[in-house]
């Protein structure tokens, strides 16, 4: 698991989850982020779990049992982030201001859940985040607009149009994706070596 180096301003930075005095808590995590939820609940005052809902996207190693043992009022498991998002959108619509949102795990999970919250009108700064696990990126090709998931290499081939892309730190919260720009536009025969950098 990598650490995030300081970079340009648009590159997201993450914090450490901390319990707030909110009347309700919505916690979203993948397998790597589960540890952050365990820390959050351990630091929380009595009664926190009774007002909390956990949405979990399983992975390896599975943390389902550990999360269920936290005793949250509701526990929900979705097979993937993308399966979770429509449910999340409905949750955001239903809840009222004063519900604290906690996002923990990969940048993709945090970014996609945050994008869903922003569509419901929540400011991105209103949601707490903690990065755990992979630094693999969602990358949007600026040429064809297709998004390539789980990008770990620099450069990367666009899964949609096949162009070789330089993965930038330039990030879009609206797309929950980093920007990928063709790296060999001048001379397509040039093939810079692919290195695995986003681990």
């Amino acid at each position: 698991m990598g650490t995030i180096e300081p970079s340009i301003r648009s590159r997201p930075v993450y914090g450490t989850l901390a319990p707030t005095a909110a009347a309700a808590h919505l916690c979203i995590a993948d397998a790597a982020g589960a540890a952050a939820l365990l820390d959050l609940f351990a630091a929380a005052p009595a009664g926190f779990a009774d007002a909390a809902e956990i949405c979990y996207v399983p992975g390896e190693p599975d943390q389902s049992a550990a999360l269920q043992a936290l005793g949250a009022a509701r526990f929900h498991e979705s097979p993937s982030v993308f399966a979770l998002l429509p449910r999340l959108a409905r949750q955001f619509e239903r809840m009222s201001m004063g519900t604290q949102v906690y996002l923990a795990g990969s940048e993709s999970l945090i970014g996609l859940a945050m994008m869903t919250g922003m569509r419901a009108g929540l400011d991105y700064q209103a949601m707490q985040t903690e990065h755990r696990g992979t630094l693999a990126r969602r990358v949007q090709c600026v040429h064809c607009k297709g998004v390539t998931e789980r990008v770990t290499t620099q450069p990367v081939e666009c899964a949609h149009c096949g162009l070789l892309l330089l993965v930038r730190d330039h990030y879009s919260r609206r797309h929950a994706a980093f920007q990928g720009v063709n790296i060999n536009a001048e001379d397509p025969s040039e093939n810079p070596p692919m290195e695995e950098v986003f681990r």
Binding site: A21, A23, S96, G98, G121, Q125
Partner: protein
């Protein structure tokens, strides 16, 4: 930012809204439209009161979609430094004045699906412009308006026509109060909260918002703080090499300007941070009245906001 880009205007109308509030209309003498603005903007009005030149900020209360004139609604404050009294007594239709271009330190968050507005007394003025803006752009809003009594509630009829059931009025003298706990715990996701009124009201609302875990990014407030009067004191301006006496009814910034020194400013209400000035030395005490410096900065005593803050004794500023 300073008044260098001032606009010469003529007062085209003065309307008495109630026993305490008058509305002033400003237009360009040549009839050309004034600069565009957004709801929540203020202008700074320059008042030549005898030898005293005041510059006081007021929210625009007219529709941002009509720039043939600007309208401000001013409550007479018998305890203030005299700006509102000057406007109420001395300014009539035909008076020539100078105003700043509008600036907005209290804008609507245009991304918000819903706006919850809380007004106290004359704090209604920015919401007049904002609700006019939303009436045309189609944003969802709800306004809660606390008044001393209905006869002193400016714009009740206009707001009622504009907002219908989305206007809630609370008459203080009838013992009516906003139920902040209920209001702040029942707002749908994405609601942005705006509050403008007397300082105790703003503080009460922000405290309740904190209690109900509202994120700071969804809270917007405008303190209707005006420079308070006080004891006279002396300011030494190091860079300009000048010594300035600040009168009892004058703000430090106004005294600096009267001495011919151009100092930066924007809100003239202690909120925006533009006029922040370094304190080089001090004999006496700094009397901070702004909402800009935090507790730590106040304790350090190295900075002051001359638009609203004062001193006891003598202070040397870097300006």
């Amino acid at each position: 930012m300073s008044l260098h880009a001032g606009i010469d205007v003529e007062v085209t109308d003065v309307v008495e809204l109630n026993a305490l509030v008058k509305r002033f209309h400003f237009a360009r003498p040549d009839g050309q439209p004034l600069p565009a603005f957004s709801g929540g903007s203020h202008i700074v009005i320059e008042m030549q009161d005898g030898t005293l030149r005041r510059r006081t900020p007021y929210s625009l209360s007219s529709s941002p979609f009509d720039t043939r004139d600007y309208q401000v609604s001013i409550r007479r404050d018998d305890q203030g430094r005299g700006g509102s009294l000057y406007m109420h007594r001395g300014v009539v239709a035909g008076t020539r004045m100078r105003i700043s271009p509008p600036a907005n330190l209290f804008p609507l968050d245009q991304r918000a699906p819903r706006h919850l507005m809380l007004a106290g007394g004359i704090g209604i003025t920015p919401f007049m412009a904002q609700t006019a803006q939303l009436a045309l752009t189609g944003g969802e809003c709800e306004l809660h308006y606390g008044v001393r009594n209905r006869s002193l509630g400016a714009y009740l009829d206009e707001l009622s026509a504009r907002l219908g059931p989305r206007l809630h009025v609370y008459e203080d003298e009838a013992g009516e109060r906003m139920d902040l706990d209920r209001l702040l715990s029942s707002q749908p996701t994405g609601t942005h909260l705006y509050v403008c009124g007397p300082t105790p009201m703003i503080e009460a609302v922000l405290a309740k918002a904190a209690k109900h875990a509202w994120p700071a990014a969804h809270l917007h407030y405008e303190h209707f703080a005006k420079a308070p009067p006080g004891e006279p004191f002396t300011v030494r301006l190091q860079a300009s090499d000048r010594t300035v006496e600040v009168g009892a009814e004058q703000s430090m910034l106004e005294a600096i300007e009267a001495a011919g020194v151009e100092a930066p400013y924007l809100c003239r209400g202690g909120a925006c941070g533009q006029c922040e000035t370094r304190v080089l030395s001090l004999e006496g005490e700094l009397l901070h009245a702004d909402h800009w410096l935090d507790e730590k900065e106040r304790a350090a005593g190295e900075k002051i906001m001359p638009c609203v803050s004062r001193c006891r004794g003598t202070v040397v500023l870097e300006r």
